[in-house]
Symmetry: C2
Subunit: 440 residues, 2 copies
């Protein structure tokens, strides 16, 4: 049951373990994108409200978090700013604002939170991280292939293996509508129904198509071709009857050719039934599916007019969006390799020895070890050793009156409980190479 101390509905506090897992993943993603020459971009958390609203329709507008005007205008109840809803509207604004200051084509990635006032649910948050990689200003299929390879490499870098890239092109879909005789005015709705073939049975989709006004025989033919065991071959053959379809096939084959050798062949497949719901795609489209995960874990494609529709300059674009919250769940094993909180714990056995213990901690840190000094009020070694052990440390540096008299320090291995006394002067070398001394 939520209490007054929980974070707001649909948001999360990330304590150390979860934060480090996420930060590790973001670091790996940045590294992959950098290796392709994509540049980082970070825009403010909020935009002027007119920049955000009206870009994705009324339903999306309802999900935007709006910020009240301030000062004397607060009482008006009006909003003048809003939290960003995605990374693409800010990209369009940046493309308009910086124009010639940006390298062209502009290859950028963005990793950061976005906010949507969706009903919170399992795996669905109101504050969640988006991770986008896009190229603006190039019509070349190489740009599509580059984004797709970066997308693939990012998933591989996070340790994901059981995923498949479903590849298609919008023109393939338009070609299909043509050769299967779908009336033009039904086209967009028919595609929306076909998109459900990964969730609904063929019969259910046929029934939905009929409900949308498509002749039953046409719907059955179309769905039959899309779901046959040799669907890909049948569709390839059928598309020869449409110029649009052939152009789409060419796009798919060009991308497949470009990425061969960089994306293992068994991980990518031409998938004619894959539609992508979003009508702004204009060329190749792809979706990443992971075994056991409903829906996609990422997607992308070419959108040659979107930036202009979002208020930016008219330039071609292609990009991918990684469903990082889902991916993080899949990548959890690799990320769990997080280390203990500290390497070295330093007890403090008497007030007049505190300064020396504090100095020992500094020496351990200088040797590259995460080190914490005891900050509690107990003077008992047994209690402080329990603290050391709880904190995940491997070593304790003990400095009591005996060590003080001898000009020495006792190093305790918390796993084996073995102790050895060293001259103080030897500690830095010992800490830099304890394995050589202990395990060697």
């Amino acid at each position: 049951m939520p209490t007054q101390f929980d974070p707001p509905s649909g948001t999360r506090d990330f304590l150390a373990a979860e934060y480090e897992k996420r930060e590790w993943a973001f670091g790996e993603l940045r590294s992959v994108f950098r290796s392709y020459g994509f540049e980082p971009l970070q825009t403010p958390a909020f935009e002027r409200i007119d920049v955000l609203l009206g870009k994705y329709g009324d339903e999306a507008d309802k999900l935007v978090f709006k910020i009240l005007r301030r000062g004397e205008h607060e009482a008006s109840g009006e909003a003048d700013l809003a939290l960003r809803y995605d990374m693409t509207v800010p990209l369009a604004r940046v493309a308009a604002a910086y124009g010639s200051q940006l390298p062209m084509p502009y290859k950028r990635y963005a990793i950061g939170p976005v906010w949507r006032a969706d009903r919170p649910g399992k795996g669905r948050y109101r504050e969640f991280t988006q991770c986008d990689v896009d190229t603006l200003g190039s019509s070349s299929p190489l740009a599509d292939a580059e984004v797709l390879c970066a997308h693939h490499d990012a998933m591989a870098r996070l340790g994901l293996t059981g995923f498949t890239i479903l590849l298609n092109a919008r023109q393939v879909l338009f070609g299909l509508l043509e050769v299967f005789g779908v009336p033009e005015e039904l086209g967009e709705n028919v595609l929306i129904s076909l998109d459900k073939l990964d969730k609904l049975s063929p019969a259910e989709v046929i029934s939905e198509l009929t409900g949308r006004g498509l002749a039953a025989v046409r719907g059955a033919e179309l769905v039959g071709a899309m779901t046959a065991p040799d669907a890909t071959d049948r569709i390839r053959t059928a598309l020869k009857g449409s110029d649009l379809g052939l152009a789409g096939l060419d796009q798919v084959d060009e991308v497949l050719n470009l990425v061969s050798g960089q994306i293992p062949a068994e991980r990518i497949a031409f998938t004619p039934r894959m539609v992508r719901g979003l009508s702004y795609y204009t060329g190749p489209i792809w979706e990443l599916a992971a075994a056991g995960v409903p829906g996609s874990i990422g997607s992308g494609g070419r959108y040659d007019h979107l930036i202009a529709q979002l208020g930016g300059p008219d330039m071609p674009g292609t990009g991918a969006s990684i469903g990082i919250e889902r991916v993080l769940m899949l990548a959890s094993e690799r990320a769990e390799a997080a280390r203990g909180r500290i390497d070295v714990a330093v007890p403090v056995l008497a007030h007049d020895l505190a300064a020396q213990s504090f100095r020992l901690a500094g020496i351990a840190r200088a040797a590259g070890l995460r080190t914490s000094v005891y900050l509690g009020s107990s003077g008992k070694l047994s209690k402080q050793l329990r603290w050391a052990s709880d904190s995940g440390a491997r070593w304790c540096l003990i400095y009591g009156s005996a060590e003080h008299a001898a000009g020495a320090v006792t190093v305790r291995d918390l796993a084996s409980a073995e102790q050895r006394q060293l001259p103080l002067a030897d500690l830095p070398d010992y800490l830099r190479n304890p394995a050589g001394t202990e395990d060697g």
Copy 2:
């Protein structure tokens, strides 16, 4: 003049160069805090409005960005959420929410944006990054010393050298008020005036003190002692007349003793005139001053009741806050060592050679080099070489029809314009060790 495409007033877009400088600095700070065993904490961008308001007074409440209720409640013009104003209120909430799940003492750092509807100005933003490091649950002076050393090390890691740590303790200030005969009811106001001694002349401060109701002779004595060339000695002597003052001196000396050997002596000084405006401090306090920078570049101190005042559990605390926006300006030289955008540029000389060029880019990336393939529409080598050069690349991998026929690739050094042709099979080794081949 701002245009519709600029980010909202007081916020910034971080393009690649600026972003990488900031990300470098944040990474260094994380690394220092980790080395002390501080854990990361990340809380949501917004909190429930009742968690935020009423914590720092009416003036602060006016600067909070408030978020409109959603759906049917939007028309009410009421806010139920607000963007975080600092990192300490969320810390108090987290301490209350997770209690025994947190290690105790709880040592955490937080680096992230906060939002304040201040009037934007030079170096003053409405969205800016705060960087805080705090220890909750320990009354030990070691905790103060640990935070202070981490604060110092963080500045040193960013390459700052010309900074001084002004150290004081609240009890020193209370002792001063006592021995200089300041009436108790004037105490807090007198401290606020003394705090201005780094900006105003002694005479101006004396006049302000008189205006606040302090006898002119008392004000002159107090300011005279604080600004004398031997101020520190005079104050040390004077404080012997007050138990509070002596306790404060003990705190200062204990911190100085603990940090000696880890903070160079010339970088830290007992500074009795340093007040820190914030009344919630209860023990040692410090401020970092940098030559040529007005105001402080960071500050910290012990605040044993603040967490309870902010709605959290009643536990002692000590912490530092780094003025990261100012620090970044000082650290700019070190951060400017950012590399060019890419290492290797790969022209595409003919459509039927594109796939091979794309593969060469993959080989360069696998060798650890940031690599970009030409995405434009020109087929001319000269134009593509200009692109390569503009993009900051060091090498070009050229694959034209001659190379295709020879099973080779031409590697061009963009600085020297030297070229050499290699068998394709030799490229991976060559890229891994070009220096050994070229410069060696």
